[in-house]
């Protein structure tokens, strides 16, 4: 069996987030070197603050400042920091209960080694030099043996509050199309379209999936289809897609290759866009080095009869 294809797939997107009143105050506070929590009706102070009481589900808006000093409530040593983590040298993940707070905040502690960290140790905030209104405005925590710092009693009202953040997400995959599609892609390199026939319903799938989606059985019998086919339906695209360098208008069509039981998708060229019709007979046009046909053009044959392709739309 030929080797199955593999390639890296990186999925990343800069999602944005509106903060709402509580997170807005919290992050703006960090920018101003003020740590804010919220006070619940029964007098607990939650840091980091939340919008809704986790016990009673009540809305909470009572902001209260806490100290930038506190106590480690538990920790774990990180031997090998990874990309995007707060410190580049080994550090401790810590939960810190700041002085004046009833809950603990997750952050990192800059310490020379795990022997220098213990539950109950006193720490303080090390502020980042450039602060923008983000949790990273706290660069990290550091060991501290002084008295608890005193909050200034800040109201939580700020000039030019931060109202939104960008939360970039990134996932790194190794993608494999699997055995059946690998065979299909390899055949395309020779400009042949090779699908697979279901042993049960006898339908030919191009591209093949390795299993029939209706019968639920594995497919393996290879069947070459095309190269010509029939336009079964289409639309005329008049707006440019961001990721595609194709002049508009163009025709995006469902094309049933001769011998296939399911249409695939392609662009129609070599004919004015407004003359494309259902039933048009087409053949692939390849460009040098292309993994797929660049587009399909009319073969010049008479149009196919609707009755022949109406199940292949």
């Amino acid at each position: 069996m030929p080797e199955v294809l593999k390639a890296p797939l990186v999925v990343e997107f800069p999602f944005t987030r509106s903060l709402g009143p509580v997170q807005s105050a919290f992050l703006t506070g960090l920018r101003e070197r003020v740590v804010l929590g919220v006070r619940t009706r029964d007098g607990r102070t939650l840091v980091p603050p939340v919008e809704y009481d986790p016990v009673t589900a009540e809305e909470i808006r009572d902001l209260v400042e806490v100290a930038p000093t506190g106590t480690v409530t538990t920790w774990a040593w990180n031997h090998e920091p990874r990309r995007g983590q707060p410190l580049s040298s080994p550090f401790a993940w810590v939960l810190v209960r700041l002085d004046g707070a009833d809950t603990a905040l997750l952050h990192v502690l800059d310490a020379p080694g795990p022997d220098a960290v213990r539950t109950g140790m006193r720490v303080r905030v090390r502020w980042a030099e450039d602060r923008v209104g983000a949790i990273t405005d706290i660069a990290c925590f550091e060991p501290y043996d002084g008295d608890p710092a005193q909050p200034t009693g800040h109201s939580g009202e700020f000039e030019a509050p931060v109202t939104g953040i960008v939360a970039p997400a990134r996932l790194d995959y190794t993608y494999s199309p699997g055995r059946a599609q690998t065979a299909y892609i390899n055949a395309l390199a020779d400009r042949r379209a090779v699908g697979e026939r279901c042993p049960s319903c006898r339908k030919v799938y191009v591209p093949p999936r390795g299993a029939c989606p209706t019968c639920g059985v594995a497919t393996s019998e290879q069947v070459e289809v095309g190269p010509a086919g029939t336009v079964t339906t289409f639309c005329i695209v008049n707006i440019k897609a961001k990721n595609l360098d194709i002049e508009v208008p163009y025709v995006y069509a469902h094309i049933a290759l001769d011998g296939a039981d399911l249409a695939l998708h392609g662009r129609i060229g070599g004919i004015p866009y407004d003359q494309v019709r259902m039933g048009l007979r087409v053949e692939p046009v390849w460009t040098e080095g292309g993994r797929y046909p660049d587009h399909y053009r009319p073969t010049g044959e008479p149009d196919a009869d609707y009755e022949i392709y109406k199940e292949l739309l």
Partner: protein, 388 residues
């Protein structure tokens, strides 16, 4: 033992808009949930379980809403479930919640669906750069437009039908204070003059991109007896799935949609949906899906759906009003859109739909679909409880 009858006693929506920059996602869902509780005159403590749905994770980058939103939805110390079924998720989420009540697992369940499209990009989420694969050659509209052309070819529908649907739904939206689009100067000529994006689909025949949430409180017979306002009763509910693409798939009228509707009608004792059902809230993201679904759901024979639209039957004052709320064409927070259909159906039979109320609506269908016409979920609600 028979099932517990399921009643909708509370409904809440946010005012749907292009961007809700003033609230977090927690704040957005809270707003809808609080309104549903207020409608039912219940408190958080009265809720026994929470069932939440949202759009696919990549749309919005929120992978675990059940984790992030538990406190905002008062779910601490209670079961919280999340449902996934692409665009139909709002409908299937409501049905999962309803089934918990019907099975007497929980007495009163809060169900909610949401999306903040302004903080995400659905089109990006649908077009990840999968190695070796040919990129999709058109946007979401381009995916559906060939199916619309196939419908037109199959039925001989005149090409004006799509614009009639859009004109109707946008006018209906003017009567719904929660709808996103309020186009006060809308005319049929404006719809027909709007740019052709993916021929045969025009700009005005496509749905907007919205931020919004919708919530419902579902309960049983005892809860309904205590409710301050009339309940909507679930008379039937079903879900069906099929592959997005397979040999023999009818993308114009998918078998899963037909089977789902037939199951709902069987449960509800509906012999002739056109005669026995008073109105429909159906998932129409592109205008032509109204006549397509009218056929798929059995309100018209194959090839005849467009005639109901063209003759005004589906207008707000017609014989079978469709999308009285303005529909997905006027409001589309994708993750919530299915639940809004279900909730609007319930509002109608409760007589609480305000200016877009259909007089005497007693049985109304709520419908949602998602994926490449892959997932279907529907419920039929009535003003009277099901026969014991």
């Amino acid at each position: 033992m028979s099932k517990e009858p399921v009643a909708v006693v509370g409904i809440g929506q946010t005012k749907h808009v292009a961007a809700r920059r003033d609230v977090s996602i927690a704040g957005l869902v809270r707003e809808a949930a609080q309104r549903a509780l207020d409608d039912a005159e219940l408190t958080w403590a009265d809720i026994d379980a929470v069932v939440i749905g949202k759009a696919p994770d990549f749309f919005e980058g929120v992978m675990m809403p059940e984790l992030y939103l538990a406190d905002a939805l008062g779910a601490v110390g209670k079961p919280m479930l999340r449902v996934h079924t692409a665009g139909s998720v709002g409908g299937s989420t409501a049905l999962v919640a309803a089934n918990l009540v019907a099975a007497r697992v929980h007495g009163t369940v809060l169900t909610l669906a949401f999306e903040k499209q302004s903080e995400s990009n659905a089109m990006w989420g649908l077009s990840l750069p999968i190695p070796f694969q040919q990129p999709l050659l058109a946007g979401a509209g381009g995916f559906f437009a060939p199916h619309v052309r196939a419908y037109m070819r199959r039925t001989g529908a005149p090409d004006t039908v799509g614009s009639l649907v859009a004109y109707k739904d946008r006018r209906n939206a003017l009567k719904n204070p929660y709808a996103h689009l309020h186009e006060h100067d809308i005319t049929l000529e404006k719809v027909q003059a709007s740019p052709m994006l993916w021929d045969p689909i025009r700009y005005s025949e496509t749905c907007p991109s919205s931020d919004g949430a919708c919530a419902m409180v579902l309960t049983g017979r005892a809860g309904a007896a205590r409710a301050p306002r009339p309940a909507a009763w679930m008379l039937g509910g079903a879900m069906r799935s099929e592959p997005t693409l397979f040999a023999g798939k009818d993308a114009v009228s998918p078998q899963a949609g037909k089977d789902c509707a037939a199951d709902v009608y069987r449960q509800a004792g509906i012999a002739d949906p056109r005669r026995d059902i008073d109105a429909v809230e159906m998932y129409v993201p592109f205008s032509w899906y109204e006549p397509m679904w009218l056929e798929n759901l059995g309100f018209a024979d194959e090839g005849e759906g467009w005639k109901l639209t063209e003759s005004g039957v589906t207008e707000l004052d017609g014989d079978l009003p469709v999308n009285m709320s303005g529909g997905v064409l006027s409001t589309n927070p994708i993750g919530a859109s299915g639940m809004i259909r279900f909730a609007e159906a319930a509002l109608q039979v409760r007589g609480q739909a305000g200016e877009h109320q259909v007089d005497g609506a007693r049985k109304v269908l709520g419908h949602a679909y998602g994926g490449g016409s892959q997932f279907f979920s529907m419920w039929l609600v009535g003003s009277e409880p099901p026969d014991a």
